[in-house]
Symmetry: C2
Subunit: 325 residues, 2 copies
Amino acid sequence: MSDLPSAIEIHEEGPREGFQFEKKIFPLADRVALVNALSHTGLKQIQVASFVSPKHVPQMADSAEFFAAIEKVPGVKHTGLWLNEKGFRQASAVKNVDLKGTLLFYASDAFARQNNGCSADEMRRRQDDSIRLYDNAGIAISSVYIMTAFGCNLQGEIPIEAVTRNVRWVMDRFGESGRPIPAIYLADTVGWAVPTEVERRVGAVRELAPTARVGLHLHDTRGVGSANFYAALRMGIDLFDSSVAGLGGCPFAGHTHGTAAGNICTEDVVFMAHEMGINTGIDLDALIDAALLAERIIGRPLGGRIMHSGSLKRFRSAAGFQNSA
Amino acid sequence: MSDLPSAIEIHEEGPREGFQFEKKIFPLADRVALVNALSHTGLKQIQVASFVSPKHVPQMADSAEFFAAIEKVPGVKHTGLWLNEKGFRQASAVKNVDLKGTLLFYASDAFARQNNGCSADEMRRRQDDSIRLYDNAGIAISSVYIMTAFGCNLQGEIPIEAVTRNVRWVMDRFGESGRPIPAIYLADTVGWAVPTEVERRVGAVRELAPTARVGLHLHDTRGVGSANFYAALRMGIDLFDSSVAGLGGCPFAGHTHGTAAGNICTEDVVFMAHEMGINTGIDLDALIDAALLAERIIGRPLGGRIMHSGSLKRFRSAAGFQNSA
């Protein structure tokens, strides 16, 4: 218990993950309402939308209008996702986007080829271009994602060395040049992680990059999400991505094996953290309201638990009443 | 990692939990088909039905026919649940019931009053009658349940002492008389547990009852189920109750706060255990098939994850093919 952090930082990925995952394009007003609700929960970073090919991802075709329509709340960063320079240029020209410098790596060659049309090695080399791009734009590189860090549906088992060679690259580029070392995220992109591997892989990253902040991007594809979250907390991890209501994957889309890949659910992990005395800076009640709004927008039951079962607050206060009666 | 048990025992509660929870009475043939499917998965103990008032629980009115209709599989115990002597007498007269001697305790007074119409103290005293009952019937007392061991919707926080006084009672009755000490289950009846409390409360039981096997009956009401399961594994716990497909509570019954209280999902925890090298003796594929059958019978999406996303087996074998291509 002494290993648990006293406070953690949670980055919300629900709007981008959720609305991109769905086939349907939801009304802009609904999407804006969800982001605005989230912006008043205490969350400090919300990923709103991506700047990617509207031909491949028509759901994200109006990202510029989406960003322009949201309410800016002091202290809340509204981030976007892009996969190449073109996307970054688009995002840079859009109102309300808080630009974050992020580098992207793959532990899986096969996944890199599918998503970016190049090997994991080549993807690493391309990050030098990204560094130049961000340098020229005057944007700090604050995070690094190592995707498919726990396993890959295309390639199968991912050896730990396929993860650590990316960490070595980061330490070479950043540690030696005296640049601030970005947070290194291990992303369980397709839901292979189990607690013992969280421990092993976080441990391996820490050995190579003892001064780096390590983050986890976890999915609850196979019901192990909260266990992985807890294993990470025990390792002192204090930086997580998650999705309100579990948006971004749907375990209930029939038995279409392989499509279910929702992030861990923001309000569920916030509840769990608070119950263990870990501060998140987030108002759980407001977050549950946002999750219920997300469910109304999507129009079918979502995977989050606490939004359906409720937190323990009302039981504690009701009990106080009963005990004194 | 060294604390994890090499093998665990999982008792299936799905049929009784699931068909009792649902308002509808499902066709006997469907219920029998589910139990028969479960009996061929490697599960060693399956709770089939309860012997309780058909007036209060009409879903369980035909428990005798249900038991009589199931296939008996060597090595598989088909157990029933009863709450008093009358229920035990009924169960004793029914074909195919594997009678297990179980004592029932409450950590919450308010919950004891609601469920049994007496205080937790009085419930403890009544267990002396149960001991006599089982002794006279020649049935070993193999397990003890401490319900609401982590918190109670009626009473609120449950102090650890409300748990341990039941453990003391058990050790007085069993330890001193030289009787074999039954397994002591902490039951998170209404879904309050978090990992730190699993550690604290299991630790407290172990201190008082170092020779007792400790089991956990966990619910996933608030999305913390797999984290609690992992915390328990780390404490060396090797005895769990769970429900196939997450039967026995429904987080998707609209926003009826407080009704969602499904057990942890059998195939999800089996998957997680196997991925961490922990043996369960269970065939995961057969179990997933049983979960899909349960979902077809109930007729709506159930909370289990792995039944929708699939295990990692096919990715591992497909990857082998791809790698060699």
